[in-house]
Symmetry: C2
Subunit: 177 residues, 2 copies
Amino acid sequence: MSRRIASSKATVVSQAERDIRARLDDHELDFTAMSAISNIYRAGSAVRNHMERSLLADYDLSWVAFTVLWVLWIWGEQETGHVAAEAGITKGTLTGVMKTLQARRLIKRIPHRDDRRRVSIGLTKAGVRMIERVFPEFNTHETLAVSGLTVAEQHELARLLRLVLKKVSSIGPDEEA
Amino acid sequence: MSRRIASSKATVVSQAERDIRARLDDHELDFTAMSAISNIYRAGSAVRNHMERSLLADYDLSWVAFTVLWVLWIWGEQETGHVAAEAGITKGTLTGVMKTLQARRLIKRIPHRDDRRRVSIGLTKAGVRMIERVFPEFNTHETLAVSGLTVAEQHELARLLRLVLKKVSSIGPDEEA
DNA sequence: GGATACTCATTTGAGTACAAACGATTTCTG
DNA sequence: CAGAAATCGTTTGTACTCAAATGAGTATCC
């Protein structure tokens, strides 16, 4: 499996941010917003990258494959459309991921009782074993990632991110509210 | 252009987080870390998604293409390896993006004076026009995205993210420090 | 009840993304 | 200075990703 974003020298943000400011100072830009947003994206990429390399690669799982297993673990058998939405991918993408996961016998398809258009998916026993082995490790890495923050700061970080998320989602082309 | 991550119903985080906690309560997990980290990733995806749909699509630029133009704008002509690192992608990926951008006459190749292995790239005049038209709009969207936070909170968000970024980078397979 | 409209998942086509292999070039070493 | 090692961008192979088109199935409307 492969999806990856290279970690970069650019992760030494502070100096880079100073360089940027120096270059753009006369452009009337909102540097505070720029700094916050770019760090969200950088941190998000770094986290995904780290998890893929340090953990998921050992189990030959992509980030998305892991996410799908996790969704099915938490919420149980779900229709594909719902799984796609929860995993943050389109239905089309999910079809491909399902093919991979099904080939590895980690998920199974469950045809809908009445409506033959619909398909639900669920974890196989092997799928349950997989996620129950991987997730605690995943969580350990999460703990490590925020270990530079106090618990109060971790709560504050989550709170601020939820605000950004809410605002961005409210602007987007879907979910007009 | 295409790379995209679907925004999802899952952006209504609070209820989802409660559901998760209910399911996993006896697994001895660090929910605070989980909440912080998953929101970083969700917010990062939402931001990228939003920018691609609401802004970059109008100029037929992918996120990565935009990032490359931005890097070249800020730091001027650079060797490909350096651009890839700054943009957070691999050299292989950059080759493909360069092909697209060069076909649109937004960047140009500059062969190295002595070392024929090396190639630098830089913005063409059309490339400069493009980024100077797009970036102020991009920044406006950034401002909007954090408009639910006070300026102090925006600074705090950036600070906390830098701490996470620093920690994650320090663990990674590269940059062992 | 038969055409029409709708709603699902899937397929398609193009672009993005990685690691690993490669070829061209430069640098190091004996 | 010739062969080995290192370094650079590119190519290759596989997987992910989206939007849009497609196909299968269901619901509506007259």
